[in-house]
Amino acid sequence: MQSTSPGTSAISARGLHKSFGTTEAVIDLDLDVATGAVYGLLGPDGAGKSTLIRMIATVLTPDAGAAEVFGHSVTDQRGKVTPRIGYMSQRFSMYPDLSVAENLEFFATVRGVSRADRNSRAKSLLESMGLAEFANRQAQHLSGGMKQKLMLASTLMHSPDLLLLDEPTTGVDPVSRREFWRILAGLHREGRTVLVATPYMDEAERCTHIAFLDRGRIRQSGTPEQIKAQVPGRLLEVASAEPRRTLAAVVALPGVDSAHLFGDLVRVLWTGAADPIEALTAGLGGTDASLTVRTANIDMETVFAYLAENAPADAAAVSS
């Protein structure tokens, strides 16, 4: 790896713009990703996450604006950018009729990895990802999670400093998702920079930085803590026998900013001055003997629900 001193910029984009026909996919977007970060791009389908990643990966030319990867332009200096990035597209893009080992071998060869490095890296990557026993299996016969791991292994064969991962865990089972993030955490410890798009809010917690995209623009960005800090008050969970009735009662109470159902629980965002547990127990008490109130940690799900409700008018449609 080259020049990975912390603090220098891995990605720096200014005024990026891309439309497809009449659809503006990415609008006048600025993005800064520091070296060593695990930067999460969150947002619903069609927010522009893929378009943004593909422009940074040099596979899509922006209509306007400029982006640099480690100081090199993604449009004029592709030859200097591509050796240092690993790009994993959203859809499976390996040869289905080639085996796991053959896919790794082919893509590493065209990327100029020496034979000795190809063999040793394929071996260690497959082992660390638990794919070693499937090395000779054709890619088309892999499970969804294994396919994603094969793609990640392929993007790592030339040991890139920056990984651009477009929804690597979409459609993958929860166990494989955790496994995938465990691998990403390892790459982060090695000092690699990761830009990862995901529609899953829980994955945002694992990032060092996040940006929330909606309809081509970044609406919020910062560390998960900074983002969470934008939510005022405290989060409480109310368990009751009849959550729907409790919800209706809760929103009428003074001090409650908002409330919504979360499984069998009612989640309450409390911005009142009084102690929320006492106030809520008192306010709802008597109707239900089994009612309990406890405080909860604010998670990303809550943050984005809050941000969506309090967003400017043109950014109202936010979902997870």
Partner: protein, 381 residues
């Protein structure tokens, strides 16, 4: 340079793996040429013989019977039925049991005996123009011959000696293919069509496939150049096309007795250039086609049909409309058919065939360059 060769090698290696794992395609590219060759050589022959012929003899004299025997004796006509009325001709033509009908009017024998000109009607089923044309020519020739022999025998019977009378007797010889065997004529041309089908059709889908699989994007983030990808993809198909060519030539020579009169070197060079031109055409289709289905249809439209219909393979180019003659010039198959026939049948060499060779070389170069250019433009859009 070394890095470039490594990348091309990786692509070629990968293409071979795709091919070896795709049994259907492999069977198609190896068996198709053989099947086509056999089909053309045996089934789609333009030779005409044993044309089913019906005879309606209203005369029923020794003279008319002798006349009918002249038809029976020729290998071209085969008398399959004798009828009594003209209606039976209609029925026979409709049922395809006869293609030619000879009608001898009553009084035929008497007229000849009197030394006058007798008339016979020859009816030909024109629904198949090729054999109709040949049937007509044969029956005219047969009647002329019969006419001559009758004149001689009539003169002899009158005690005249005709040997002193000067007569014009044409001696027609056909060069290169003396038996005018259409198989010998077709196989060298067929070679061009088979190459076109294998190469254009297969390469047409190859780049589209990379796009459909999404692997194109992974190649875009590699240092591989577009031309490297194309050359890497061309090499395996060049080899397969050559195997097909050799197979067709050997089968043609060994089984069908096609002569190889010219130098194989000219044929090899012509084939190589034609293979590259066809592959380039396939890549061009692949670079612009939005889907594999479209690529397949485009390949059929611009490779198979023109090389079949506008190459001179089946129909002589100077007999098709002028506009189509110009049109045929933009498809490389016609040059290859000329080269192939020239080398096989006429023993032509560089001296005669250099314009075609040069055209093919230029064609191949332009195709690959344009394909690389268009392919690049399509990416990153």
């Amino acid at each position: 340079m070394k890095a470039s060769l490594t990348r091309i090698g990786a692509v070629t290696n990968k293409e071979f793996k795709h091919l070896l794992r795709d049994v259907r395609t492999l069977a198609a590219v190896v068996l198709l040429p053989v099947i086509q060759l056999l089909l053309f050589a045996y089934a789609i022959s333009f030779d005409v013989d044993n044309v089913p012929t019906m005879v309606i003899d209203y005369d029923k004299t020794p003279a008319s019977s002798e006349y009918v025997r002249a038809y029976d004796a020729s290998s071209f006509f085969k008398v399959v039925a004798h009828g009594d009325t003209l209606n039976q001709v209609d029925t026979a033509f409709d049922a395809n049991t006869a293609r030619v009908a000879v009608v001898i009017p009553a009084g035929f024998g008497e007229t000849i005996a009197a030394g006058d000109k007798a008339q016979v009607a020859v009816l030909i089923d024109g629904s198949e123009p090729n054999s109709a044309k040949i049937s007509q020519a044969y029956s005219v020739a047969l009647n002329q011959l019969y006419d001559q022999s009758m004149t001689k025998s009539w003169a002899a019977s009158q005690g005249l000696d005709l040997s002193g009378i000067g007569a014009l007797e044409p001696r027609v010889r056909t060069w290169y293919n003396p038996e005018r065997n259409s198989t010998i004529f077709l196989i060298p041309g067929l070679m061009a069509v088979i190459i076109a089908i294998v190469t254009v059709q297969q390469t047409a889908v190859t780049l589209v496939r990379e796009r459909a699989l999404g692997t194109e994007e992974q190649l875009l983030v590699s240092p591989m150049r577009r031309t490297e990808l194309m050359v890497g993809k061309l090499l395996p198909w060049t080899l397969i096309a050559f195997i097909d060519v050799v197979m067709v030539i050997l089968l043609g020579m060994a089984v069908f007795g096609v002569p190889l009169r010219g130098t194989p070197l000219v044929l090899a060079l012509g084939s190589a250039l034609f293979v590259f031109a066809s592959l380039g055409m396939g890549l061009l289709i692949s670079a612009v086609a939005p889907s594999a289905e479209t690529a397949n249809i485009m390949a059929l439209m611009i490779a198979f049909l023109p090389s079949f219909l506008l190459s001179g393979l089946a129909f002589p180019l100077d007999q098709i409309p002028v506009v189509l003659q110009w049109f045929s010039g933009i498809f490389p198959a016609r040059y290859m058919v000329t080269i192939s026939r020239g080398v096989f049948l006429k023993g032509s060499g560089f001296a005669e065939l250099w314009p075609e060779l040069l055209t093919l070389a230029g064609y191949a170069l332009v195709m690959v360059l344009v394909a690389a250019r268009l392919y690049g433009r399509k990416a990153r859009a």
